[in-house]
């Protein structure tokens, strides 16, 4: 699914400042994209205009070329674009895991075997065992499991685009990694487009093919993760941090060592430093 956002403005109340100030953005079909920005930058508002929960006060949003609210109904959009809110486990409410996940598709009119199939498939996607968990109360599960039940509830609607608002906030490192791996697999193996919202740069960078940085209602940077980190000054100016390893490269570069600054994994950064330090070959260039 391809999303195009053209000149979108939004304000919650007439007398208040605009939350979105003319956003232009594209999510390509099959892409894993990330939207980064700090609290209040407009990220959550923007994604709600994509899945039809909010109507732009000005501007248009297109889904596969069809204008939302005109060529395609809001209801249809909400079925095809899945939105997982922050702390989605707070929205669990049913007695069993099965009922919670099946709630959406049931409302679409599905029942019986098809409902079971969808629920089972959604649970498999996020690595929850169907047989042992379907009859459990969602409230008795661990934090990471609850979050996956909530995501499965959105996946059971079989969306073509999955938007996740800070899906890993509050989870421990292993749960974060596992969940991001599963989201990655949904994208690479099942072709679901993903838009990940985050304020942890390093986590967005490792997974996403493209990162968009938002500040005060505008997209201020976009490109591959490496390219975004080249814009260090801009990032610092708007209060975002570089991944710590990228920052080490920057600090060394500022001391005059000729290093690349578009790398962010331990392996890449170690290799880059060793090229310069390993044989003690490289020499300082005057800044």
């Amino acid at each position: 699914m391809r999303i195009e956002i053209k000149g979108v403005h939004f304000r919650y109340f007439q007398e208040e400042e605009e939350v979105l100030k003319g956003v232009n953005m594209t999510i390509r079909d099959g892409e894993f994209a990330a939207l980064v920005g700090h609290t209040g930058s407009g990220k959550s508002t923007l994604v709600q205009t994509i899945n039809g929960l909010l109507k732009p006060t000005q501007g248009k949003v297109f889904l596969d070329g069809q204008e939302i609210g005109k060529d395609i109904s809001f209801k249809e959009v909400r079925r095809r674009v899945g939105l997982v809110f922050q702390y989605p486990e707070h929205q669990l409410f049913e007695e069993t895991v099965f009922l919670d996940i099946a709630f959406g598709p049931k409302n679409l009119g599905l029942e019986g075997e098809e409902l079971k199939r969808r629920t089972r498939r959604a649970m498999e996607f996020v690595d929850l065992d169907y047989e042992s968990l379907k009859d459990r109360s969602p409230f008795g599960l661990s934090g990471g499991q609850k979050r996956r039940v909530a995501i499965a509830g959105v996946l059971a609607m079989e969306p073509e685009l999955l938007i996740l608002d800070e899906p890993i906030a509050g989870l421990d490192p292993q749960s974060r990694r596992r969940l991001l791996d599963q989201i990655g697999a949904l994208n690479s193996q099942h072709g679901i487009s993903v838009l990940l919202i985050s304020h942890r740069m390093e986590e967005a960078a490792v997974r996403a093919q493209r990162v968009m940085v938002m500040n005060k209602g505008e997209i201020v940077l976009q490109g591959t993760p490496g390219r975004i980190f080249e814009g260090r000054e801009k990032l610092l100016e708007i209060g975002l941090e570089l991944p710590p390893l990228t920052d080490v490269l920057w600090q060394l570069k500022e001391k005059g060592y000729p290093l690349r600054t578009d790398l962010f994994t331990v392996e890449e950064v170690a290799r880059e430093i060793l090229q310069c330090w390993g044989g003690f070959r490289c020499s300082k260039i005057s800044p």
């Binding site: 700090h38 490192p173 292993q174 749960s175 209060g239 170690a270």
Partner: protein, 277 residues
């Protein structure tokens, strides 16, 4: 005797018909005045339960918690204990109740029955300490996450506790908010307040004196940040991850760079690399 002393503490949650959940399995721990300790562990390791045992929000089902010599199970001492050990939680929205920052911070001292003049003085000092004095007349819900969390900290400081327990205070904040809160904690530690900092971000324990790794309600390891970063197996076994900088240092060492193992921060690494040239 230690300021906070735990002796063979056990805690079990029993709720309705659900099977009982044993959250803490026999923990012994001593926290001295002025200590700055971090407690790390994955979700469900018992971190938050342990925090609540420190100031009598929970009392052990077996064993004993002593705060400044007072038993937390002694109901008559509860208020004295809570005055000495304050708590700051993950979500500031859940602990802010007043309509104005100033009122929020005055709430605790008012409940202590202090005279108005002293209350005003304490509110002023507490807001200065967290750098929020210019927001004294703001409604808390108009503040950013980091600012809200600092107001929550100020309202604890106004009670003049000797120890503050922070339960994942940065989990819901963006990088800016996180830095604000970490700087505030740094300052409190400098004032001699005992800090207990609970987190699952290993990079946040670098500046503490002592780190305790918790898993399934038990202490897996207790030591300096350096000890902990070197115990890679235990860290990974507890479902935690080493921060990126020690990982990078490890890789560079293995490739033959003569770096010392004591390097924990970006700045230290940059300095050490430059020194090799």
């Amino acid at each position: 005797m230690a300021f906070i002393a735990l002796e063979d503490v056990h805690y079990t949650y029993t709720e309705g018909n659900e099977p009982p959940v044993q959250a803490i399995h026999g923990i012994d721990l001593a926290i001295e005045k002025g200590d700055r300790i971090a407690i790390v562990g994955p979700n469900g390791s018992g971190k938050s339960t342990l925090a609540k045992l420190f100031n009598a929000l929970l009392t052990p089902v077996q064993g004993q918690v002593l705060v400044d010599g007072m038993d937390t199970a002694d109901e008559e001492k509860i208020w004295e204990i809570r005055q000495r050990v304050g708590m700051v939680f993950q979500n500031p929205d859940n602990q802010l109740v007043a309509t104005m920052v100033e009122e929020e911070v005055a709430f605790g001292p008012e409940n202590l029955g202090l005279p108005p003049k002293l209350i005003r003085q304490r509110v002023q000092e507490a807001l200065e300490m967290v750098g929020m004095e210019e927001y004294r007349n703001f409604p808390p819900h108009h503040l950013s996450g980091g600012q809200k969390q600092r107001v929550a900290i100020a309202s604890i400081i106004a009670m003049r506790p000797q120890c503050i327990v922070f339960d994942e205070p940065t989990a819901m904040l963006d990088p800016l908010g996180r830095q604000e809160v970490l700087k505030t904690i740094e300052k409190l530690a400098g004032e001699g307040i005992t800090i207990v900092y609970i987190t699952h971000f290993m990079e946040e324990v670098v500046d503490t004196d002592r780190v305790i790794i918790l898993k399934a309600g038990q202490v897996m390891l207790e030591g300096s940040p350096l000890d902990v970063f070197q115990a890679r197996d235990i860290v990974e076994d507890a479902d935690l991850e080493l921060p990126d900088i020690p990982c990078l240092v490890d890789k560079l060492q293995k490739a033959g760079l003569p770096l010392s193992t004591g390097i924990l921060t970006k700045e230290e690494l940059v300095k050490a690399l430059c020194a090799l040239k």
